[in-house]
């Protein structure tokens, strides 16, 4: 057996700006951590950024320097991990930077994100990667890791210096945004992976089939006269690449599955023994190409929103574990780029701030999936790249989010933490709101409306105002 990749190597590097470790007492919250088999009411004490104690509700006495939050009626999850975001740095800091992107992540309950390398310049050499880690240490509100390009300049011609990039902390390799069309190059990358490690994350799309398509090929693309991207442009590439991965014994992760055929292809590949994992986005789980009828460019992304049967297959794949994690593919675009006719608009939607709420509203509340499955799949993103899973257990750094499952909110009504506002859920009323996120032991996010709401709502304020900060 060749040296395998992933979890038996040291985990990829992550970085964030220094922040004060949290001292928090979340009183009488419902704790839900499916992996730790926790689902019940507890007090959680965080001291110096570590989970110090999990005990019966109302049983922990807080020291004076601990901020106490009355979390009765609220829910604590292990914080989420997003293995697929675009933070547009370097090059398009007008759309997102490490500060705004990680603020958006924290606002969505994420304690860690992995950024994609299709920047300008792309992250295809160690010096760009080092400079990103430096900026992350100055700006990032939650830990951020970086995937490096699989091919130089994302051009699909020659491999990057994969071994050096892993030494510098790259989480894995991807040409995301474009596929690795050349099968021979993918094979070489998988061979070289035996030396370098680093999972290959693949954007699966056969450009000779997707051509100049702008939406899912089907009855709606026919009606709208828009060039279609057929499902087979994705699934045939998955079949091809899984076969190559199996042959080379390499490790691949299939990014943003969108079609029923793709789920079946991943399932077959895993059945055959290929070391292949897969992810799915919140928008592919909740929306279909019906949304494109509006010709609103906020529903334009790649891979495109597909049909209802595809959405059903993605949900089934998420349940069965063929799809192991949820990733947002958070893709900020500037207003001037998106405010154009559908056909001209760039592909991509933001997703960090709405991921949990959208999935809770559209999948959990109607009873399509269970809440614990959602939490499990939203926390699993890092495992693909050999990173630890956030867990609610004493002695571990606090990575948790406090959520009001009863709250409803309108997406965008108080703006976005992200610099961009191309959300496909804009103006939707969603259930479940993240109120606070603790990432790597620090408070990375507090809902701005948190305190205002307390004052407005006498029923709740009596409970919640008990949570007052006692230290400076």
């Amino acid at each position: 057996m060749t040296a395998s990749t992933g979890s038996d190597r040291k985990p990829p590097q992550i970085a964030m700006r220094p922040a004060e470790p949290a001292d928090l007492l979340l009183r009488s919250a419902r704790l839900l951590d499916p992996r730790a088999r926790i689902d019940g009411f507890h007090d959680v004490l965080v001291r110096s950024g570590e989970i110090a104690e999990i005990a019966a509700p109302d049983s922990i006495d807080a020291a004076a320097d601990v901020e106490t939050i009355d979390a009765a009626g609220l829910t604590v999850f292990p914080a989420f991990v997003d293995p697929h975001v675009h933070l547009r740095t370097p090059g398009r800091e007008d759309e997102e930077d490490l500060d705004s992107g990680t603020r958006a992540a924290a606002a969505g309950g994420f304690c860690c994100v992995l950024a994609m390398p299709n920047t300008d310049p792309p992250v295809d050499n160690a010096s760009v990667l080092r400079s990103l880690f430096e900026r992350a240490r100055l700006e990032a509100r939650v830990p951020v890791g970086f995937l490096a390009a699989a091919s130089r300049g994302l051009a699909g011609g020659a491999l990057t210096e994969m071994a050096e990039l892993v030494d510098e902390g790259a989480a894995g390799f991807t040409d995301d945004g474009v596929p690795i069309a050349n099968a021979g190059l993918l094979r070489q990358a998988l061979q070289y992976q035996r030396l370098s490690g680093g999972v290959l994350a693949l954007h699966e799309e056969d450009p000779s089939l997707s051509k100049n398509g702008v939406m899912h090929e089907g009855p709606i693309s026919t009606l709208l006269g828009l060039a279609g991207i057929p499902s087979i442009s994705e699934s045939t590439m998955i079949e091809r690449d899984a076969a190559i991965a199996l042959y080379e014994g390499g490790r691949c992760h299939m990014l943003h599955l969108s079609s029923a055929e793709s789920v079946a292809a991943v399932e077959r590949a895993r059945g055959a023994g290929a070391k292949v994992t897969a992810e799915v986005t919140p928008h592919h789980l909740t929306l279909t190409d019906e949304a494109v009828r509006s010709l609103d460019s906020r529903f334009k992304m790649n891979p495109p929103l597909r049909g209802e049967s595809d959405r059903d297959a993605l949900i089934a794949g998420l349940r069965s574990g063929v799809i192991g994690c949820i990733a947002t593919d958070h893709a900020p675009h500037s207003r001037e780029e998106k405010e154009v006719p559908f056909e001209q608009a760039p592909m991509g939607v933001t997703g960090l701030e709405t991921a949990f709420s959208a999935l809770y509203t559209d999948l959990v509340l109607p009873g399509i999936i269970e809440l614990d499955l959602l939490v499990e799949r939203m926390t699993a993103g890092g495992t693909v790249f050999g990173m630890p899973v956030p867990t609610l257990a004493t002695g571990l750094p606090a990575n948790l989010c406090l959520v009001d499952l009863e709250a409803t909110w309108k997406v965008g009504e108080t703006g976005y933490e992200s610099r961009s506002e191309n959300s496909c859920f804009a103006d939707r009323k969603l259930n479940g709101r993240v109120l606070m996120t603790v990432a790597a032991g620090t408070v990375a996010f507090r809902a701005r409306t948190f305190a205002i709401k307390l004052a407005d709502d006498p029923d709740r304020s009596s409970r919640r105002l008990a949570g007052s900060r006692q230290s400076s």
Partner: protein, 318 residues
């Protein structure tokens, strides 16, 4: 009706109403004085991002026959040419407070985009490969007149050619089927969209059964499509799909949205034949576009209708 963005938005009743109004404008067109005061004092902007002869000229003339003030903007030589975004162009034109904006653009969804950012009524004069609703309405009108019928119930229509890239085909399948016709689209399989049957038509890949058609609607074959391997050669296309004197029966009618590639989709002898409605289509274009502007700006409550425009008679300085 507020906007005319697509036939997909229209009911059979909408189509019947517009063609009925066109019928009355057709009578006006036979008068010596062809102008009516319906839209006096209103401004109509024709914004054309693609070249067009018959559509732009007939919208311009339609607006003038209705006494509107008309501004024609073509992308060539305008600020569009200097990289101004469509959104900014619309904001600029909105300063003239137009009652309607007629837009043609190479991007699907351009018209609905304008409707989102402007308070004017918007007429889609062709958006990418999406729709060309005024063409479909004038074709329905032309056919009804020729058939002396109130509807197209049971009329068998074949639309032949490059259906995939044709906004005319999309709008016409929808309009003809809404009016009761039985529609078949026919062309090389590579030029028929996936799931075309979902539009409510049948699909044929050859002309073997074209004799069943009452009306043959030929589409323009764009020569540029020949480069990208969608059909093996123009020669093969012509031999399989050209409508010529052999294929067109005396009882069948022939239509084409123009401009015709003589010798490609149509042979010269059929273009000039008595069955050809091609010239009638152009004439109908004017009155149907008048009817469209009337429908959006004068009928019902749609549009920025101003009941009593206080337009003082212009006084010459004494």
């Amino acid at each position: 009706m507020r906007h005319l963005l697509s036939i997909a938005d229209l009911t059979r009743g909408d189509i019947e109403r517009i063609t009925a109004v066109a019928e009355s404008f057709a009578e006006v067109a036979e008068r010596d004085i062809k102008k009516v005061p319906t839209l006096r004092g209103r401004t109509i902007v024709n914004l054309f991002y693609e070249s067009s002869t018959r559509t732009s000229s007939s919208f311009e003339l339609a607006a003038k026959r209705l006494s509107a003030d008309v501004v024609n903007i073509k992308s060539d030589g305008s600020s569009v040419d200097k990289g101004e975004s469509l959104k900014d162009t619309i904001a600029t034109l909105s300063a003239y407070d137009p009652a309607a904006i007629v837009i043609r653009a190479p991007w699907a969804g351009a018209a609905s985009f304008v409707a989102r950012y402007s308070s004017a009524s918007v007429v889609n004069a062709g958006d990418g490969k999406h729709e060309h609703p005024s063409q479909a309405l004038l074709d329905v009108f032309t056919l009804k007149r020729r058939l002396r019928a109130d509807s197209l119930d049971g009329v068998n229509i074949w639309i032949v050619g490059d259906v995939l890239h044709s906004r005319v085909a999309r709008s016409n399948v929808l309009a003809f089927t809404r009016m009761g016709a039985d529609v078949t689209v026919c062309g090389p399989p590579t030029l028929i969209p996936q799931d075309a049957a979902s539009l409510g038509c049948r699909i044929a890949y050859d002309l073997d059964s074209i004799r069943e058609a009452d009306v043959i609607y030929a589409l323009r074959m764009q020569n540029e499509r020949m480069d990208n391997t969608l059909v093996p050669s123009l020669r093969e296309y012509v031999s399989r799909y050209q409508i010529d004197g052999r294929r067109l029966e005396p009882r069948q009618l022939l239509m084409h949205p123009g401009p015709v590639n003589r010798g490609v989709e149509l042979a010269a002898e059929v273009i000039d034949s008595p069955q050809s409605l091609i010239v009638d289509q152009v004439a109908s274009g004017l009155v149907v576009r008048m009817a469209i502007l009337y429908e959006l700006l004068s009928a019902g409550t749609g549009g920025n209708v101003r009941i009593a425009p206080p337009t003082p008679t212009e006084k010459q300085p004494a």
